[in-house]
Assembly symmetry: C2
């Protein structure tokens, strides 16, 4: 049995001698198209008995009502929580969210962009992978008219809206607190990668030391991938120094947790001998003993703002270019047992004098 | 400028007087189509200068090379790790994965199915939400020819392949271990929901008690959502009983962690006074002090097997119906400090006799 070729926008375009994309825009009520053209297209569509099916219609008018999110990994409370904030706003306007993980792998990140494009998302929200230094895959998506918004791990090489937290301020507050607890040899776990969040945290650490006239020791800055295992080996490395640090500020909670494990295994008291602080306020930071001092990044709020910026880009007048916005959130220092050296030392003295 | 209508599979179908879907299958080298038809289709495609573009081709032949995964939440190491296992296998055969979260909300789960269908996934892998009791949304996807595979939270109401772990055995092993540690009043945190995993864990708990002739007390079984806060309130509830339990086996690690927090806050020794065990081997279980005894679910392996079963469904001969397979993995008991009562009591005696 033969099936009759379906009428497509190409047939309408041919009949009116306009381009298919003009037909598509007209059917989609795009403000860029004149009312006269819209009327002509609708008339022709009726005459030809044009019936868009759902999928094909979405394909033509570019509205799938899907947002694609690319994150390094969903297995991190921070990212999961940002996604939750994005979904909250998206669902209100009847948008759904699909997630793709880059695993901080550049090749995979490029592929996830393609995967989301073939899933016909209406836009992409990204937290860039640690190892990404070329942004052409995102530029390609932009060239296809796919709006892009970045959060947390961002870059200025793309002309897009960004939401981040003030990593510098968060790190500065941590180190200031450690200094106020009497620490004078403060180590820092950082990443060798060129991701701005880690550079900013390092800068906050160094500036706090300088402002409080606490010496900076090159050998106390340890670079790694900042995972649990890295935190362990970085701590081991520091304990081989002739003089131990009296505090460690890790740019990630995982690194701080690894350090805590090593200290406990060796019977070194935290915070009395080595105070500890992380960054990110992962839920497990409140489970350890002592609980970890850390920095909260307002991940839910970050997600909500990111989604709002994303939908802003839909509202732009066709003639005006969207001016990319940068939103910077203020982080909050969460002080817990792992850094309360003064208190712990006082308690130890009281206990021993009983 | 007019654009020439593009040659579609409909044109080929019309020329050969066959259906468009036959053309699509022929171009996609589907074994259901005879070699003669395939040759004719390819010849006609060449004559008409048929050039599939990527998106349209995917649309026609139904191969987007995307797998949609629906999980309750990505913010759970177990699910994140299963997804990682799925991606590992999928990437080998050039498939990409997109994730959608149901947040254990039935309405959201229905919407995620629609979202994935509109993203044109080639198939869906699901771990069913806790509150789902109607499976029509999955049946609708199946009726559209979208292969479905379930993992962990499964149901027998759908005729599909499933991968799960032996929850009964895992729970039985935990309770057996607690009994061997001398516990005789063993409480259990479970879910009121009809998800089979929790029913199976409860059954394992009860059977172990029965087999070892340890009394079962109705009041020691506490139902909740098994999150951290639930674990806290369940523990508070148990501590109001005239006689405390000497062990708690929580069907989730989060519940066990909440219980541990309450015990520590009240100065009740774990495992000496109350031994603890969870289920799931979430990474944080090794961070706490004492570290939590739990059950490992081989999540990576589960993901790999799930993906393999998924691709199996692609290989099915057209005439044969795919027989759904059920794969049951054996879990592993991970014994840590929170349940080692005998050892902890011995150490306490030694310490006090010094």
């Amino acid at each position: 049995m033969g099936s009759k070729p379906k009428v497509t926008i190409h047939h309408i375009a041919e009949k009116l001698n306009i381009t298919a994309s003009t037909v598509s825009r007209a059917l989609n009520d795009n403000p860029r198209i004149s009312e006269a053209t819209k009327k002509a297209v609708i008339k022709a569509a009726k005459q030809l008995n044009y019936q868009p099916n759902n999928i094909a219609a979405a394909l033509r008018n570019g509205k799938s009502h899907l947002i694609g999110i690319i994150i390094p990994t969903a297995d991190r409370s921070f990212f999961a929580s940002v996604v939750r904030g994005i979904e909250e706003i998206a669902n209100r306007v009847n948008y759904k969210v699909i997630i793709s993980q880059s695993y901080d792998n550049y090749e995979k990140e490029v592929q996830t962009v393609d995967a989301l494009l073939s899933a016909r998302v209406d836009g992409i929200i990204v937290s860039i992978g640690k190892n990404t230094e070329n942004f052409d895959h995102f530029k390609r998506a932009q060239e296809k008219g796919i709006p892009l918004v970045l959060f947390d791990r961002t870059t200025d090489e793309l002309e897009v809206s960004q939401v981040m937290i003030d990593d510098y301020l968060g790190a500065y507050k941590v180190v200031e607190h450690l200094i106020q607890q009497g620490c004078r040899r403060i180590a820092h776990f950082t990443s060798p990668k060129k991701v701005s969040i880690f550079k900013e945290r390092l800068r906050g650490y160094m500036d706090a030391l300088r402002d409080y006239e606490v010496p900076f020791y090159e050998e106390l800055v340890v670079k790694s991938n900042l995972q649990l295992e890295d935190g362990r080996s970085s701590m081991e490395q520091l304990l081989e120094l002739p003089q131990w640090p009296d505090a460690v500020f890790s740019a990630s909670d995982y690194g701080a947790m690894g350090a805590l494990q090593v200290l406990k295994e060796r019977g070194i008291k935290a915070p009395q001998e080595v105070a500890l602080a992380g960054f990110g306020n992962e839920p497990f930071t409140s489970f350890s003993d002592p609980a970890l001092t850390t920095v909260d990044q307002f991940s839910l709020t970050m997600g909500r703002i990111t989604a709002e910026l994303f939908f802003e880009s839909f509202k732009t007048e066709p003639d005006k270019k969207l001016v990319p916005q940068k939103t910077v959130l203020k982080p909050e220092l969460i002080i817990r047992g792992s850094s309360l050296k003064t208190e712990a030392l006082k308690k130890d003295r009281e206990d021993s004098s009983v």
